[in-house]
Amino acid sequence: MDIIASLGLGFSVALDPINILYCFIGVLLGTLVGCLPGIGPTATIAMLLPITFSLSPAGALIMLAGIYYGAQYGGSTTAILINLPGESSSAVTAIDGYQMAKQGRAGQALATAALGSFFAGTVATLLLAFFAPPLARAALNFGAPEYFALIVLGLLVSIALAHGSILKALGMIVLGLLLGMVGQDIYTGQPRFTFGIRELYSGLNFVSVAVGVFGVAEILRNLEDEKSRDVMVKSVKGLWLSMTDFKRIIAPVLRGTVLGSLLGVLPGGGHILSSFASYSAEKRLSKTPEEFGRGAIEGVAGPESANNAAAQTSFIPLLTLGIPAHPVMALMVGAFILQGITPGPNVINDQPALFWGIIASMWIGNVLLVLLNLPLIGLWVKMLSIPYRALFPAIVLFACIGCFSINQNIYDVYAIGFFGVVGYVLIRFGCEPAPLLLGFVLGPLLEEHLRRAMIISRGDPMVFLERPISATLLGLALLAVIIAVLPGIRQKRKEVFVEED
């Protein structure tokens, strides 16, 4: 079928008033759960699965998809306002977004996130409509060696996440790698660092670690400072972007969209890399890298666009091949099956109205989200004027409920407290939590793909160099290291890693 006719069919499904309503309910719910720290899209979709029984297949899937990408919008809100990222992608947004909020520029940060996400969502949806099947095929060329090489590149480039000492940043990444090892080894079944606690077999919960080292640690730090305790942000300098702001975000949004769209297609963890990769790219390309970590608007625009683009394109493997790229997509598989449709390569031909309807609804959902979120900015910023003593206990409470709701695992709640204290100690020592989270997220992936590549190659390390994609990626990683150590570029590097004190 011709693409225009297909899209026409899609829009006729998505523009059905009842489906617009489901789409709206989905993105609204997604925004709300994205804002509540801890309760993510996974828990929400799981809770709503039974309700979708009674809906039409298109309505149900449009709503559930809406919850997922809606949560990507909402997740940045708490990251910016109170330094509480709900998932790995918004952890990057918290770095500069929260600094902007502290300077009274929360409105601008939120507007940047919303506009960047909208643009990225639109582009990614078009990409999905035009190139989904070939992109999915291309992504299948990524095996374990390619993912390993990609993550190595990501880790090396992302050292730019730190704005303090490079030694401390490396230390934090290693600590994160170690924390990521907690749990049952997937290859041998051996428990590692679990101390006999069965609840730790599945590893530490990302949300607990993120809420602890970012949110709770920040609360503890604020409590020691008597002066800033009453109201977190005293003055709010306007809400809307100035002309200068617009000029500054255009390029990062474009680059973030491209990076995110491409990485999102990779089912083996590409979407996790997208916001980290975009942040590193922006910092490298910036003329004023010293602003990063101190409220650079580019540090919000790039990662937020990348993250939303990846959220949309991560539907590609699911819709065209029936392969779930991450836990939320696995839930979508469940939703398809409950509706009597087995997701797989045949969905596009057997259920064209459903396939194109979902794609068209994503664009409509992005429009609804931007209409919903821009007016809300004023309201969110007002939230900052809530007295500290009322706001923070509420945040911690919500975070605990949210983390517990995912797996009903009490250790996820203990982890918040533990990592809150760890995070506070790290802040006191001048170490930053972002590289720690990067190591924590990418470490297990790095190990998984390295060991799988070695098992499949039967112990031959040359596999990484014999396969063209992995060899290229590793070459780029080597290049990144060489550039960093070349004497001529030392001067520039000093700018990148300005010492804090």
Partner: protein, 326 residues
């Protein structure tokens, strides 16, 4: 004086509790029932649970809520139900892993045979032996020869320690008497991705995950592990037809904590049988490539029988393979 009052009060309390107890079994259920699924939402077991729970809710007149308690190969969720109140409001829906856990986990904090009151079997999902589409052998006979000849040069993917695909792989290698290189993944999704992408050779996985890929020609299928051919894959021969002695099904059962009132078990058994005879359940199960068990099998006796014999079977297989999860 005071003592008497306390005794009286205690007596009254006991009496009212006893009364509440009997009335409670008759009126059961008076509040929503939680079915713990020890895996994450959206997976095959979760889907089975949600389809059955929906119809059981209608029959019982109370919501049957599915709660996902994933982790530690299903032993976390099962462990929670083992120590839950045995009032009939917390149940467990678990699959074949119920019978492998006692051998895989040497420090299991519960005993599947004594800590639960079985309610009934639900379904047995068949498995299919599939390979990347450019894998050399074309028929089951060729595959068996190929595996015998090439052994460890063949990569066998599975969905992780204790997963159905790992169990099927052990049985397969026992039957062929050859060792392949096993490549563990975290779940069926990534494993299938690498089969479709041609990164690994072979997997034996539930029809839930393979049917659409077989139909679309994305993978090469050799056989199905059920006694008879499947309705939605009529051209696919059974393993027995292909000359391979390998029969395995991912059987699912419903359990209550041990000591649950017999009247309550009976009520749940009846509701389960109603659900398994339901049109929607039958047709959705068919799309998953499986059928509900008969009413005679959806009984405590049948589930007890299956559980004990499967524990024996897997004890032998797992100990021979020397695979443990702790």
């Amino acid at each position: 004086m005071k003592k008497t009052a306390i005794t009286l009060a205690a007596g009254a309390l006991l009496a009212s509790m006893a009364f509440a107890g009997s009335a409670f079994a008759q009126d059961y259920p008076t509040k929503p029932i939680t079915v713990v699924v020890p895996f994450s939402a959206g997976g095959p077991t979760d889907t089975v649970a949600r389809l059955v729970a929906e119809v059981m809710s209608q029959d019982l007149g109370q919501q049957v809520v599915v709660q996902n308690v994933g982790g530690a190969g299903g032993t976390l969720g099962a462990g929670q139900v083992a120590v839950a109140q045995n009032d009939g409001y917390t149940l467990l829906l678990h699959h074949i892993g119920m019978s492998t856990a006692p051998t895989l986990y040497r420090s299991l904090p519960y005993d599947p045979t004594t800590d639960f009151a079985p309610i009934g079997l639900i379904t047995s999902v068949p498995m299919t032996l599939v390979a990347r589409k450019d894998f050399e052998p074309n028929t089951m006979a060729e595959l068996l020869d190929y595996v015998k000849a090439n052994g460890e040069d063949i990569t066998y993917a599975h969905a992780g320690i204790g997963s159905a695909s790992q169990l099927c792989g052990m049985l397969f290698m026992n039957a062929v008497d050859a060792q392949m290189t096993t490549v563990p993944y975290q779940g069926s999704g990534p494993a299938m991705t690498d089969i479709i992408g041609g990164q690994v050779d072979l997997i034996c996985d539930q029809t839930t995950n393979t049917t659409s890929q077989i139909q679309a020609g994305e993978v090469k299928a050799y056989g199905v592990t059920s006694p008879e051919r499947l309705g939605n894959l009529p051209d696919l021969a059974t393993t027995a037809e292909g000359g391979l002695e390998l029969e395995i099904g991912v059987w699912h059962g419903l359990y209550a904590p041990a000591g649950t009132d017999a009247a309550i078990i009976e009520r749940l058994e009846a509701a389960l049988q109603v659900a398994l005879a339901n049109e929607t359940v039958i047709s959705r199960f068919a799309e998953l490539g499986t059928v509900p068990v008969t009413a005679e099998e959806a009984t405590p006796a049948a589930l007890t029988e299956t559980l004990t014999s499967q524990i024996e079977l897997w004890k032998g297989v797992i100990e021979a393979a020397g695979v443990y999860a702790d």
